[in-house]
């Protein structure tokens, strides 16, 4: 559960971990029924129907409004989204 929480980037509490782990067990047991299905030669479907790339001409069009986007950012400065330091200062 610690590994999953880390992969999913959710800081789960100990209580949540215990709770989810029990529920996950039940659900995974239910999923086990798929193991007995004969799937020889069956192709997996990512969608119900084949999905194809659709290309358009490479022409500039209207883009989203920068101000509207910055307004919903948790923090911004100088027309940019502000985030905590990602790379350590080596100097």
């Amino acid at each position: 559960m610690d590994h999953l929480a880390k992969l999913a980037r959710i800081a789960l509490t100990e209580e949540e971990k215990a709770h989810f782990s029990g529920q996950l067990g039940t659900i995974l047991n239910y999923f086990d029924q798929l193991k007995s299905v004969n799937m020889d030669g069956v192709e997996p479907s990512a969608h119900a129907f084949p999905v194809y790339n659709i290309l358009r001409g490479d022409e500039p069009g209207p883009a989203l409004d920068v101000e509207a986007l910055l307004r919903i950012a948790p923090a911004s400065r100088d027309n940019q989204v502000l985030v905590p330091r990602v790379v350590d200062d080596e100097g």
């Binding site: 999913a8 999923f31 798929l34 997996p44 948790p74 905590p84 330091r85």
Partner: protein, 487 residues
């Protein structure tokens, strides 16, 4: 004024508007009055922008006055599930994660409704990020079933179904990933349709499981649902999965589609677990089609027994990936306890997401983990192939399939929430349709335990027209359209 307009069909409202007997402003005001009168009890709306709605209504009246009416939806209010973007308006997905989010743009469906002159308004309650089947997973408020406020409205489009059912908006747009339009429509006694996968653009609709999500109408009548689908369907340069196939004129083609049809009844959908009173109502609908001269054929969809397992693998896997965008960086909740970048992600997500969303992300993360990927995700995708093949084989012999929507009527609050698996199994009749990408319409057909019951008609890919025609034939021969909850 208000009560007399609350339950009118769009067809009726449209002709009243055309005849100058009402204005769009009066209609809009009647919806707002109705909300004041009953939504305190129901809780369908998370909110609405009254000023904006009134302005849209006035603009419609102005167009009409100048002979520039845009079509049958001009001046008709359409409520939106709160996962569909309306530029400049809040969009919460009923989550704390998006508590202060404002949509920077219109969803394609919103833009198309505007082009059709509809009044797009309101934020309708839902399960958080559309994950759930009771609307109990909303982080914002509780929504009650208008037929019995001790019962859930269904979900995840519970606010949409409750709002239409209680006469607060004549139309609503919801989304259906595993039954989220059809099931609440059934629980609340209104018509709900999930169109063919790709028939409607999802641009601007918060993604849950991208290979399954589809936007669709909730309405009082089949014809109203067709009118709403007409306005939103079709290709979209912003959504590569939106099908380019031409959109038929649903109303006109409905009129030319006549039975008797070949109706398939899947035996697997009438097994153990189906409430006997619900079964009885669905059987009556089968009898109706039989008496109308249709051929009823028992069919078998054996692989659908694996649908719930395959669905909860595929949907959670896709959700874990889709919801990775909520990381506290560009928009949405950012934890103020975080000191470094990873903390921003982990703490913002821990604080912003509710329990069901966390649970599904964790489950989705698990099934995608290397070492388990083939055992779960790939197998689930193969099951999807088998289920689709089952349906397509059946469609060699039948025009559409008739089945129950849900094994039970709307449960009481909290009735199932302790048994997760039982809750997930409640979607057993709707989920296979999403996996196969088919269109399906849920139509009120009776009463069981004093609550509404619907059946669903499941059609061939892109054959919405036959479903509308057959559903309308049933609707016209019954009086469910005229029955409304007493509030």
């Amino acid at each position: 004024m208000s009560d007399s307009l609350s339950f009118k069909s769009v067809a009726e409202l449209s002709s009243l508007l055309a005849a100058g007997k009402i204005t769009s402003l009066e209609l809009m005001q009647s919806c707002i009055d109705r909300i004041s009168a009953v939504d305190g009890k129901i809780g369908a709306f998370l909110g609405f922008d009254q000023e904006d709605a009134i302005a849209q209504a006035k603009a419609s009246d102005e167009r009409r006055k100048n002979g520039k009416t845009l079509g049958p939806l001009d001046g008709i209010p359409v409520g939106l599930k709160d996962n569909i973007s309306l530029a400049g308006q809040p969009l919460t997905c009923a989550s704390k994660m998006l508590k202060s989010y404002v949509s920077p743009y219109d969803a394609t469906v919103t833009a198309r409704l505007r082009q059709a002159g509809a009044i797009v308004w309101g934020w309708l309650n839902m399960d958080e990020f559309a994950m759930g089947s009771t609307t109990e997973n909303s982080a914002c408020k509780k929504t009650c079933n208008p037929w019995d406020i001790s019962r859930v409205p269904g979900g995840s489009s519970g606010g949409c179904a409750a709002a239409v059912s209680a006469g607060m908006t004549p139309l609503a747009l919801g989304s259906d990933t595993g039954g989220s339009i059809r099931q609440p429509a059934s629980y609340c006694g209104v018509v709900g349709m999930k169109p063919t996968y790709g028939r409607v653009s999802r641009y601007g609709v918060a993604a849950f499981a991208s290979s399954l999500d589809q936007v669709g109408p909730l309405a009082h009548t089949v014809e109203d649902a067709a009118l709403l689908l007409q306005a939103i369907a079709g290709a979209d340069s912003h959504d590569g999965t939106a099908l380019v196939n031409p959109v038929p004129d649903y109303l006109r083609e409905m009129d030319s589609k006549k039975g008797p049809w070949k109706v398939g009844v899947p035996k697997e959908f009438f097994g153990d677990g189906l409430d006997s009173a619900v079964r009885e109502q669905v059987q009556k609908a089968i009898e109706f089609y039989k008496k109308a001269g249709c051929t009823i054929t028992e069919i078998s969809l054996p692989e659908t027994r694996y649908a719930v397992a395959a669905y909860y693998i595929i949907a959670t896997a896709e959700a874990s990936s889709n919801l990775a965008r909520f990381d506290g960086i560009r928009y949405g909740h950012r934890s103020d306890k975080a000191t470094d970048a990873v903390d921003v992600y982990s703490l913002s997500r821990a604080e912003g997401f509710g329990p069901e969303v966390k649970r599904r992300i964790i489950l989705g993360t698990y099934v995608l983990t290397s070492g388990y990927y083939d055992a779960y995700y790939v197998r689930a995708q193969k099951i999807r192939t088998l289920i689709r093949d089952d349906f397509m084989r059946a469609f060699n012999d039948v025009d559409f399939i008739l089945a129950p929507v849900s094994p039970t009527i709307a449960p009481k609050f909290g009735e199932k929430s302790n048994d997760l698996l039982a809750l997930y199994l409640g979607d057993i009749y709707t989920i296979p349709v999403n996996l196969a990408g088919l269109p399906a319409i849920s139509v009120p057909c009776g009463v069981a335990h004093e609550m509404p019951v619907s059946f669903q008609l499941i059609g061939k890919p892109l054959d919405e027209v036959t479903l509308f025609a057959a559903a309308r034939e049933f609707e016209k021969a019954h009086d469910f359209v005229t029955r409304h909850p007493q509030l």
